[in-house]
């Protein structure tokens, strides 16, 4: 397990537990493993109940955090992954396919980060090229054709800023998805499961409901890039993070998202099974509600929802 700097007390307790459990002891340890586990749980709860914005961003980037394919494996059966944009190639930073969730076929699409050094390269660190967005759109249209609900899982540090990505129209690919997702006839549920950076996140993020796991962020720009542009230095990322108000708690208050899905104590990486079960419960509850509406009602509400986002003043010239 990798521990973040503010998780030191948790790491210490875990070491003690391991020692009590596995060490050879001449005299019985003063505190039992069970007692220590209670303390560990309390410490986890305590630390995680008052995370700063920057700490929450660190949790969202934890290298052992579950990614899209892990959630698909834990939440669904019969998953068949579908590849390719039918035009250029298959993008490894976005995955998707049909699966069975709670007895019904759904289309799940998500950003995919790598689980180790080699795979992180392979997945391009979860940064899609245009063909990733085009693959996602192809799969969404497929789901629409067969009347299956769409679930998108968002987890990207941004769309890839590469030479070829620009050549193949990164901007156009994202724009096209925004436009097309607005009028999809099937229910569309979007959930941020890690990082939600800018247009790269929004490119699979237009739907009837927008939810976020508890320890994630969603913003117009990453705190690092924001710091570099507005403060002209990389040293103000914590300040930028606070100013951007990117946490689920901020965004719920601002009316941008519809709900927060709780994570287990210590974050999703501390107990991926529990995280997946919370996520699954939220998906089932939301899809049940969305299916009560007709396609026309959902599209009208979707347009209405986005049309009303924005805060401005009206004053006479």
């Amino acid at each position: 397990m990798t521990y973040l700097d503010f998780e030191k007390p948790i790491e210490e307790l875990q070491k003690q537990i391991d020692h009590v459990r596995n060490g050879k002891h001449l005299i019985k340890p003063k505190v039992s493993a069970e007692e220590l586990e209670i303390r560990l749980r309390e410490t986890q709860n305590d630390i995680y109940s008052r995370l700063s914005t920057w700490q929450r961003i660190q949790v969202s980037r934890h290298p052992e955090r579950p990614y899209t394919l892990a959630y698909i494996e834990k939440m669904t059966t019969n998953f068949i992954e579908l590849f390719g944009d039918r035009s250029f190639r298959d993008d490894k930073a976005i995955v998707g396919g049909f699966a069975e969730l709670n007895g019904e076929t759904v289309m799940i699409i998500g950003h995919q980060k790598g689980i180790n050094t080699k795979m992180r390269q392979y997945r391009n660190f979860g940064m899609p090229n245009p063909e990733g967005y085009r693959k996602a759109l192809r799969l969404m249209k497929l789901a629409e054709k067969f009347n299956k609900p769409i679930i998108t899982l968002i987890d990207t540090p941004g769309a890839y800023p590469g030479e070829e990505a620009e050549q193949r129209g990164q901007g156009e690919a994202i724009a096209r998805n925004l436009f097309e997702m607005v009028t999809l006839k099937v229910p569309v549920l979007c959930i941020v499961i890690g990082e939600g950076a800018s247009g790269g996140a929004l490119g699979i993020g237009i739907g009837d409901r927008l939810m976020m796991l508890e320890n994630t962020w969603y913003s117009v720009i990453s705190p690092e890039s924001c710091s570099s542009i507005l403060w002209r230095s990389w040293d103000f990322k914590e300040k930028a993070a606070n100013a951007l108000k990117p946490t689920p708690q901020d965004l719920l208050q601002l009316g941008i998202i519809d709900g927060i899905i709780p994570e287990p104590p210590g974050g999703a990486h501390a107990n991926p099974d529990e995280a997946a079960s919370n996520l699954k419960a939220a998906i089932i509850a939301n899809l049940t509600e969305l299916k009560k509406l007709s396609a026309e009602e959902r599209i009208t509400k979707r347009i209405d929802r986005y049309s009303h986002i924005g805060i401005y003043q009206t004053e006479q010239a």
């Binding site: 590469g162 620009e166 994202i174 237009i206 100013a243 924005g310 010239a317």
Partner: protein, 286 residues
């Protein structure tokens, strides 16, 4: 909302002179040094050429009002939604508070936002135009820009006019955080209504058009067009070079590059903009 009109280039020249950032080097206002080929020529020549260079055809930056004057018949148009102005609801502070940035920008430029919307006729055809002012926080997209586009689309649908957006923007306005990001969604959602009404949408990209603007309405035109030599892209060239640690080739992300790669319908010289738009609108109605 009629107002007394000074010819736009006179206002423009005044604007240019008061803006140090974009100052065209015009000693005593008679001479202009081209920002492209650096040749020096008469300001009157620049004005006659609609702020394009008679030597190299470099298209100088002009503001929203200039485009309204160029596009609308007899320079006759109504500006819409002027009453919408930005507000610092997140209390965002970087090197200075966003609220202060708003006031200072207003004082410096006389503008109330980075976008203006106007309605009139072009070549006899009804047209609603939303155009950006780069001098207002880099033409950045915040709530007001999104709302002006939304209302512009409503106006176009109600009055059955074609709709045009003239982009000149660095992208989303960070000081409005999630709300600026969501303007990409908002404008795209509104464009589905315009499409449903079967009204033409023309997206004109000018120098520069980048970030969230490119990744939403700018690339969604029925007709995607651009002025020559404009920088058009999603990620900025500096970010790409930092990421890939490679120098970008000459002409990367220009209008000509975008045309070659299939993302533009055509490139339009500013001097032919009005006639070409009129021609296009005529074909759509014929």
């Amino acid at each position: 909302m009629s107002q007394e009109r000074v010819p736009w280039w006179k206002r423009l020249r005044k604007g240019v002179e008061t803006n140090t950032e974009q100052k065209l080097e015009t000693p005593d206002g008679v001479w202009h040094k081209c920002n492209g080929c650096k040749k020096v020529y008469l300001t009157t020549q620049l004005e006659e050429n609609l702020y394009t260079c008679p030597h190299c055809n470099y298209h100088e930056r002009v503001d929203a009002e200039a485009y309204f004057s160029i596009l609308f018949d007899e320079e006759d148009y109504n500006e819409l939604f002027r009453e919408l102005t930005p507000v610092d609801f997140l209390e965002f502070t970087d090197s200075k508070p966003y609220s202060k940035r708003i006031t200072e920008t207003e004082d410096k430029t006389g503008l109330r936002e980075s976008m203006r919307v106007a309605s009139g006729k072009t070549g006899g055809y009804r047209l609603t135009v939303a155009a950006m002012d780069f001098r207002y926080i880099g033409g950045s997209m915040g709530s007001v820009m999104g709302e002006k586009i939304a209302r512009g689309i409503d106006h176009a649908i109600k009055n059955k006019t074609a709709f045009m957006i003239i982009s000149r923007s660095g992208g989303a306005r960070m000081q409005e955080s999630a709300f600026s990001l969501m303007q990409m969604a908002k404008t795209s959602a509104k464009l589905t209504q315009l499409a449903e009404a079967k009204l033409p949408y023309i997206s004109l990209m000018t120098n520069p058009t980048t970030g969230g603007v490119t990744a939403s309405f700018a690339m969604l035109g029925d007709f995607n067009i651009a002025e020559p030599g404009a920088l058009i892209g999603f990620a900025g060239p500096r970010v790409i070079e930092e990421t890939t640690r490679k120098k970008l080739p000459e002409g990367f992300q220009t209008s000509e590059f975008q045309l070659e790669n299939g993302f533009l319908d055509f490139i339009i010289d500013r001097k032919e903009l009005k006639s070409k738009i009129g021609q296009l609108l005529g074909l759509m109605q014929g």
